[in-house]
């Protein structure tokens, strides 16, 4: 995949600016989004006030093109926000809104400005349909239960579909604001067609995957910490359970998975920003790996807390349900492996 005779850097460290972005949002979520707020937003999975606060901070607008109100942030900055967002399990469809805003800025149409602005300012929500539209077949759209507009790919067209009110919530284990949308109806506006449409949609989907992978990596890190902390103070046979290898080694395996997924996700974001055609397989790699890390971390984080971890009183159950819920939003996360294999088959000689 990587070419053999090219010397590339492999540097995952954050610049001071990047570290500042990460820290600002870590503090924001740390203060504003404790798990009590996450719980309070259930079952809808959306907190309108938090959504306003986040937009004010520039979480959606910062990585827009400058004419559209951006301030020069990159996809990597957005990824760092997504990591903290995932760590906090913040009940807002941030990734969907950010990606859709960038897509609308690239493929504007008459009247789309208000939807773009709505996302950027936190006054309105437009989201992305993650599957190509099949005529007559509604699909579950993330953020779809709180959005009045959805962008999707219908055949050769990139389309915007609006509704007077968001459709009814489809309650789900991941407590995401999902809803069924039929995007094949007549009330749709075409934003682009042909290669332009497919290219823009593909790009948006890649951004969604990388940012969601970042959120999953953040979630994984958080639930790992919860699990590890528990084992330091819980005793069995006179010793803290965290001192037993039967507990410590699975947690170490989680640390291994989390560290790898975080770095892989950052690398995928960097390439998507700077050299999108050089290593396209990094996107499916990051998504598959982050999904695996998050679901494993959640299962282990829950399990090491024993019976308590399995009760709804335990915060890890919040992570557990979302780890799986976010992982499957775009369908089978293990389908990404085939995309990697396809690329491998096409490039290794």
């Amino acid at each position: 995949m990587e070419q053999s005779f090219e010397l590339r850097r492999n540097d995952y460290s954050l610049s001071d600016d990047q570290e500042a972005v990460r820290q600002a949002f870590a503090e924001f979520f740390g203060q504003e989004c404790p798990t009590t707020r996450v719980r309070a937003a259930e079952p809808l999975g959306h907190d309108e006030a938090l959504w306003h606060q986040l937009a004010k901070l520039g979480a959606v607008s910062m990585a827009l093109p400058e004419p559209a109100g951006g301030d020069g942030a990159t996809l990597v900055d957005l990824l760092l926000v997504a990591e903290e967002y995932g760590r906090a399990l913040a009940p807002v469809p941030l990734v969907e809104a950010a990606v859709t805003a960038r897509l609308l800025a690239t493929c504007p149409g008459p009247g789309t400005g208000r939807w773009l602005a709505g996302n950027a300012e936190g006054t309105e929500l437009t989201t992305l349909a993650l599957h190509p539209v099949r005529p007559g077949a509604p699909q579950l759209v993330p953020g779809g239960a709180v959005a009045r507009a959805v962008v999707g790919l219908a055949g050769d067209d990139l389309v915007l579909v609006t509704a007077a009110e968001p459709p009814r919530l489809a309650p789900n284990q991941g407590t995401a604001p999902l809803a069924w949308w039929d995007l094949s109806g007549p009330s749709r506006q075409v934003l682009a067609t042909g290669d332009a449409a497919r290219g823009a949609y593909r790009r948006a989907l890649a951004e969604w995957k990388v940012l969601t992978a970042g959120a999953l990596a953040g979630l994984a890190d958080a639930v790992k910490r919860l699990g590890a902390e528990f084992t330091k103070t819980r005793y069995t046979m006179g010793v803290p359970i965290g001192s037993l290898q039967g507990v410590a080694h699975p947690l170490a395996d989680v640390e291994i998975a989390v560290a790898g997924a975080r770095n892989l996700t950052r690398k995928a974001a960097w390439f998507l920003e700077h050299e999108p055609d050089a290593r396209p397989e990094l996107v499916p790699m990051a998504f598959a790996e982050a999904a695996r890390a998050a679901t494993t971390a959640a299962a282990v984080g829950l399990h090491v807390q024993g019976g308590f971890g399995f009760t709804l009183e335990s915060d890890v159950t919040l992570h557990f349900r979302r780890a799986k819920g976010w992982s499957v939003l775009a369908g089978d996360p293990r389908a990404e492996l085939l995309a990697i294999g396809d690329r491998l088959a096409a490039t290794v000689h």
């Binding site: 284990q173 046979m237 006179g238 709804l312 557990f320 349900r321 799986k324 499957v328």
Partner: protein, 394 residues
């Protein structure tokens, strides 16, 4: 070795029909819906109907027992409290004073008296012998103070099979006493605990609860031996080898996974991908379904504590992979628009996690395998039995 089909003669056929009729009448859609809502593992009418049939502790031959067991399970009959009642009853029959036995047995068999397990404490986890709930003798009574968690079914039971500490000055296994404590005694408080699997269990507080000595089971400070019967049954199963019993205590979870698998196969045959094909047409999908089928078969055929672990991991891994295959629709719970086959995949994925904990975590069972099957040396830990004195080795 025998995997042949049991020939159902007329009498067995008649019994199977009787069972089917019973299930249709008493394990109705309403019963199941109530169970999904409450997660209590109990339905009074069903339990009483079981009593009326003589099926609380059925005196049936092995084939009939198996027919009954599988039929109830396939219908998702909520019988957790029945199973805890059965577990405790064997200890009651062996250790209760004659008059208590005589008083309780007919009521249990009729379905009017039910038992739950008062083992785990908030800080204790799988180390049941570390119980701190105190029982102090006061004349002909005992005064109990403490707290138990995961006392499943307490809200529907009359007695809890309670492990208490009666002598804190001796090694931990030697200072325990068992009681069959009446739950309506003043000072007992039951609070609900809900799990991510949708089950309801309980925390039970004991504040200066006075229980007459007649409710003690077995000798004072001899509670560990009283507990071991039900505990071993929970850990190892009854050990029948005629092929008409499960090989391990988790087998019903493997059968749950088999039902989820069948649901996923049906999904793969009917769902459509953006290109119009069915998922089942995709060999990568069939490979994963095949892997799960293999896991289920192997789990059902793996004996004892090994099977216990294998089943749980089969369900945890397999239910997660089925959700992956199906996508977000798999996470829509029962009753939601667009949910697949009554939400079984959503349910199995949530429920699975608890199976690695019930009746001892999978780590406890790995320890059992290491020490009792492989003969590996016991870990040297400050609080393990190896350090608290001789004569306590299992």
């Amino acid at each position: 070795m025998d995997f042949s089909a049991v020939v159902l003669d007329d009498e067995l056929e008649a019994f199977a029909a009787e069972v089917r009729e019973f299930v249709a009448a008493h394990v109705t859609d309403e019963v199941r819906a109530e169970e999904r809502r409450t997660g209590s593992g109990f339905n009074l009418a069903l339990h009483k109907a079981m009593g009326a049939k003589g099926w609380i502790v059925p005196r049936l031959d092995r084939a009939r027992l198996r027919i009954l067991e599988l039929a109830l399970e396939a219908a998702d009959a909520p019988l957790i409290t029945l199973s805890t009642t059965r577990l405790v009853l064997s200890a009651v029959e062996r250790y209760a004073a004659a008059d208590l036995r005589a008083e309780l047995l007919p009521k249990v068999l009729a379905g009017d008296v039910r038992f739950c397990l008062g083992y785990t404490e908030p800080d204790g986890g799988s180390d049941i012998a570390a119980a701190k709930t105190r029982a102090v003798r006061d004349g002909d009574e005992w005064v109990v103070n403490g707290q138990k968690v995961f006392t499943t079914g307490a809200q529907n039971c009359q007695y809890t099979f309670l492990i208490t500490r009666t002598d804190p000055s001796v090694p931990k296994h030697k200072g325990l006493t068992m009681f069959l404590l009446p739950l309506e005694t003043p000072g007992v408080e039951i609070g609900p605990i809900h799990t991510v699997g949708g089950e309801r269990t309980n925390v039970v507080y004991y504040g200066d609860v006075r229980v007459p000595d007649r409710y003690r089971l077995g000798p004072v400070n001899g509670g560990w031996a009283v507990l071991r019967g039900p505990l071993d049954e929970e850990h190892f199963g009854a050990g029948h080898t005629d092929g008409l019993a499960d090989l391990n205590i988790g087998s019903s979870w493997a059968r749950l996974q088999r039902r989820g698998l069948a649901a996923a196969v049906r999904w793969a045959r009917t769902a459509r991908r953006p290109d119009g094909s069915h998922p089942i047409d995709d060999p990568t999908v069939r490979v994963r379904l095949g892997r799960i089928a293999l896991d289920v078969e192997a789990a059902l055929g793996t004996p004892g504590p090994m099977g216990r672990v294998r089943v749980s991991e089969t369900l945890i891994r397999g239910s997660a992979d089925l959700v992956d295959l199906v996508g977000p629709e798999a996470l829509l719970p029962q009753g939601t628009e667009g949910c697949w086959e009554d939400g079984i995949l959503d349910y199995a994925h949530r429920f699975a996690q608890g199976t690695a904990i019930y009746g001892g975590t999978t780590e406890v069972f790995r320890n059992i395998i290491a020490q009792h099957v492989l003969g590996l040396p016991r870990p040297v830990l400050p609080g393990s039995k190896a350090l608290v004195g001789a004569g306590t080795a299992r």
